[in-house]
Symmetry: C2
Subunit: 302 residues, 2 copies
């Protein structure tokens, strides 16, 4: 699992900082999460292949989270994309994008499929044999969702030496990987655990931005491998967090701690701060395994 | 008069090139022309004060000419702008911008005034005592206007030594600057030309992008000081120019030559070309005083 931070600053793009966008690579999927202005340039700088992006998830309709979307869709068109593009985001996103394509007389030549969200309960957006994506309802100034990406537990790991030792025909290996007991060539029932090992633990990623401090989120993200939680403010501006429906570094850490996550990525820093290390300093009083997002950073989770 | 090129490449923003946007400073006005994605970052990099921009002119609704507009308007809001912003552009532009502000629940706290264009004849958009701005109807794949910015001829230049020599009271200096004859303190009629000189010549700037090669443009831009004319293609791709309704370097030079302009700025290069000097090479067979636009370049016209 790899997270590439394309942009992680709040409010407005600046000379050297980008608004929210990130790419999650999980189980051979490449998911784009949020798409602030300039995202297509950040994708190029990070050498991410445009054609691999098939699903884009937009948390909410504040500009710093989606103003780069229409440009990216238009560029896909110019690059003669032909595979489907799925866009998940709040109701209204379809009208915004299609209005602009219509007025430019530039319909896409690939299927552009909108999944407009209105529910305030978690809902499943995408699922295949390897991964699922669900919403995490967030509390912000406008309708907002975070997203929970979960690997499915993989097949059991076949211990090939053991399987040969127990004289098991190779046509049964698939059954073994699925956890079944099998009968060996000499007629003995071989319990699965003797010839397989547990699969690697399924990883999960929760993206939570933008959101006020919200303990109701904790059960929804319990035990995730990596939590990205916004931390717009430090303690010096803590009184701004609630009225703007954002979080502080300490609040992000409290959520990570309560949800028992393995790692916390912090981002969505207010551009008033020049030294983002202070976010770690304040949060690490409450939670230890912290990664500070920064534009262009790749975070690999083994 | 100064033109700052914020972006001058066609189609799509890339790691080191920006789509169309430029700032024209003329007679203490600062006009923003087109606003491709990333324009607000380019404004910052070129240290142009956001609050000085009061008029934005959008040529057409292809993304590489206006996808940065909504972000710029939103940033003006975040910066607590309070002075009026006028946006001139094709019909539809108001709906695009206001829909996005509405869905973000982010109305501007400053007056945002749209001037939607539909005419296919030149029309006056703005005028004050020093400058006028009119449309230049262009032929492109969608409804498109160029813009003609014209200084008005200034006051005559008072020759102060001469005025004193002819014994003219200083209360009459304003009349002299306006070209009037006056009576000296000793009762003589002093013809204006004896004590004043011609004002500096009024400068003009024509922005023509995007457009197919169109000789009908020539009388509208006759004798302008500086012409910005798109040149998307070189001769190697000349057969693409007409079907895509763009121009070649030679075609841009032909228009400059026929219109007898002083200087030609070329830009809107297709991103397939890596060496933009070739645009000068081809165009200079037809027209000599050529400036190649490039992102970040400042062009001062004395």
């Amino acid at each position: 699992m790899k997270v590439t931070i394309l942009g992680c600053y709040a409010a407005t793009p600046r000379s050297f900082t980008n608004p929210t966008s990130q790419v999650l690579e999980i189980n051979n999927h490449l998911f784009l999460i949020d798409c602030g202005e300039g995202t297509q340039v950040q994708l190029r700088r990070n050498k991410i292949k445009f054609s691999k992006i098939k699903h884009i998830f937009i948390s909410h309709l504040h500009g710093d989270h989606f103003y780069g979307l229409v440009g990216l869709v238009s560029t896909f068109r110019l690059l003669n994309r032909d595979n489907e593009l799925h866009i998940y985001g709040p109701k209204g996103i379809k009208e915004i994008i299609t209005l602009q394509l219509k007025l430019a007389n530039s319909w896409t030549n690939f299927p552009l499929i909108f999944h407009e969200l209105t529910s305030k309960e978690p809902e499943l957006l995408f699922e295949d044999s390897k991964v699922s994506v669900s919403t995490l309802p967030l509390k912000h100034r406008v309708y907002t969702n975070g997203f929970l990406f979960k690997e499915k537990e993989g097949d059991r790991k076949l211990l090939i030496d053991k399987a040969e030792e127990y004289n098991i025909d190779y046509t049964l290996f698939k059954s073994l990987k699925k956890g079944k007991d099998v009968v060996s060539e000499d007629g003995k029932l071989i319990p699965n655990y003797l010839v397989t090992a547990d699969p690697p633990p399924a990883k999960s990623y929760a993206f939570c931005s933008d959101t006020v401090y919200d303990p109701e989120l904790v059960p929804l993200i319990k035990d995730v491998t990596v939590l990205y939680h916004e931390s717009t403010f430090l303690e010096d501006q803590a009184d701004l967090a609630f009225p703007t429906k954002h979080s502080t570094a300490k609040q992000a850490a409290s959520i990570a701690n309560a949800a028992n996550v393995e790692k916390l990525i912090m981002g969505h820093y207010s551009t008033r701060y020049t030294n983002i290390e202070l976010f770690r300093t304040e949060a690490s009083e409450i939670f230890s395994d912290i990664i500070l997002a920064d534009d262009g950073k790749e975070i690999i989770v083994e």
